[in-house]
Symmetry: C2
Subunit: 356 residues, 2 copies
């Protein structure tokens, strides 16, 4: 007999190129492959770690781009090569999820899945496991599409929001609500309105469903994508898989799972959660999450000495020695022969800086 | 017949450890061995270059510490190994000059010498050559000890001063004056008084004398040092020289040529000069000498982009790419895995920073 949770599968989406953390993060080594917090584990490794006990280790899948395959294998040696799926090109999350859903279904038709980004931070891992286990229990016996909604702690304009329908007490007992609507990243005034209502949650991008639910939803709402991966059923797990994926995958349109399915399907639920989550999308969010010294500096690096310096984010893991004197509210980051010093308040210009 | 100036010898003192330019300059590679200005030539190389036509290239001598021998040979391949004298330990300038004086005398008893630091900057090389040639002509036929005195352009507190006796018109015709006294680095008020008088000059540390003059002065004023190097006359130029120097040199007391000779001897002259000299003793002096952009930034490094940045000294020759935004009046220097960012106004603390 299979162990409890033996059909639980973890899908980690690790194809992002994270340009906002330049020069720490580069297209050659994006954020998920970096030990951003200086903990000794990369974001990708931390992501796998936090599902321990929730998903059997042999049921971990990673979808990434071919360019990152070696880094995935290096950082997750326990994940078999055939469970690291390689996208030949970037087509956003819907084709990615369609591929891995059919791939898992071909092997485990009773699979129950959680899909997670690879570059987010969770501080309360115990609570995370409780919530994800609860969501998996819910989707094991239902056709629900569940997204984890974070209780907002501030009027964040960098996240999308989920508006829940709080009117059904029978669902509340299961810890979920139906989704009324998904909201794009709001302006500050709108975000302030949202957080006044208990019905609004941050969209974490963590999804839970059983494989038949997502496959059926894709068949209905994205049939032209579905047919591509359904047709490939005979080659999954064979030597021919990558070659055929390389041929067929690029034919998919570029569309997110949010647009393709979540905003259209009926049985969409949000499971409210509060496990210290951040998408760590900016240096500013990183400094707010990191351990700070008495002057509000967050330092990742060896042998860093600060004098008359406050509110700075220092990320200099490749320098042997760093001395900073007289800086306020700056980012100082060095990586692979590239040095960035910039005001934290100007970090939205990093894309511009890195492009020159 | 020997060419004109055939007895002219250049002695470059290249043993300094230059701690004020950390991390650009380190004890492993002090300032004189660095292309500080980004010109393609190190200070040591520039020093040799500026004596071209004044001293025959075969008469160039370098005194340095054993640790720097390879760097000297690498940067000055034209200087024969036996003319690079290696001090086994640091004993300040008097023992250094005594060693090289007897060493040169053993080979060329009619030698006429100019002694120069290796880490200074001269902007008007043509005028430099004119002045040095004139000083060498003076010492060729006199027992004068000549030091080059720079016409002060500001009340600099980082230099020692020379007070000249302007009362002898016969000397003025030769372009020299007798020295009244040497002055230690003054405070600002004193420096301001000095530069109001035309009798005060900056002490450049560039000396000119013939070899018999300096040898005789050493015999009189530093007999215990003199006897050491006089006793070694039989081994100069032999395979035994280094071994004996390694034994004897450490016995010398630690004393500068200024204290040992210049402040005691009688026939001391200053030759006023104005060839754009700086000892480049601080980052501040470097930025004042360097080419600057419209915002007063001096940049030595490749691919450096500055935004809203002014009055900064950037020296990042090992970085492939540097972006700096929103800094004012700072030093940004990176070298060999060490990064320094500090306010220019606090640069006197660099020694403290580098020691930690």
């Amino acid at each position: 007999m299979m162990m409890k949770g033996g059909h639980n599968h973890l899908v980690i989406m690790a194809g992002g190129v994270g340009s906002r953390f330049w020069p720490m993060s580069t297209p050659e080594r994006p954020k998920q492959f970096i030990d951003v917090m200086g903990t000794g584990r990369t974001f990708l490794q931390q992501t796998v770690d936090r599902f321990e006990g929730v998903v059997p280790s042999e049921n971990v899948w990673v979808v990434t781009s071919a360019a990152y395959a070696d880094m995935v294998h290096e950082q997750l040696p326990q994940v078999p090569r055939q469970q690291v799926l390689l996208e030949p090109c970037r087509r956003n999350t819907a084709p990615c999820i369609a591929y891995v859903a059919w791939r898992i279904k071909s092997q485990d038709p009773k699979a129950n899945m959680v899909v997670s980004p690879s570059d987010h931070l969770v501080t309360d891992v115990e609570e995370f496991r409780r919530v994800v286990s609860s969501a998996l229990a819910f989707t094991e016996t239902s056709d629900a599409i569940v997204t984890l909604g974070m209780k907002p702690t501030r009027p964040e304009t960098g996240y999308g929001y989920i508006q829940a329908d709080l009117s059904a007490p029978s669902l509340r007992n299961k810890g979920v609500f139906r989704v009324d609507s998904f909201k794009e990243k709001p302006d500050l005034a709108t975000a302030k309105q949202y957080i006044r209502h208990e019905a609004y949650f941050w969209n974490s991008g963590i999804f839970v469903w059983n494989v038949n639910t997502i496959v059926n939803a894709l068949r209905i709402y994205a049939p032209e994508i579905s047919v591509i991966f359904e047709d490939l059923l005979p080659v999954y797990g064979t030597d021919d898989e990558q070659r055929r994926i390389d041929e067929e995958f690029p034919k998919c349109r570029n569309i997110s799972i949010d647009y393709a399915i979540l905003e259209k399907a009926d049985e969409i639920f949000v499971m409210p959660a509060d496990f210290g989550w951040s998408d760590v999308g900016t240096w500013g969010s990183l400094i707010s999450l990191a351990q700070k010294d008495a002057n509000g500096n967050a330092v990742v690096g060896q042998n860093v000495s600060l004098y008359e310096t406050s509110g700075c984010m220092v990320h200099t893991t490749e320098e042997r020695r760093v001395v900073i004197q007289g800086l306020k509210n700056c980012i100082v980051a060095e990586k692979d022969g590239t040095l960035l010093i910039c005001q934290l308040s100007d970090e939205q210009r990093i894309k511009e800086f890195s492009a020159v």
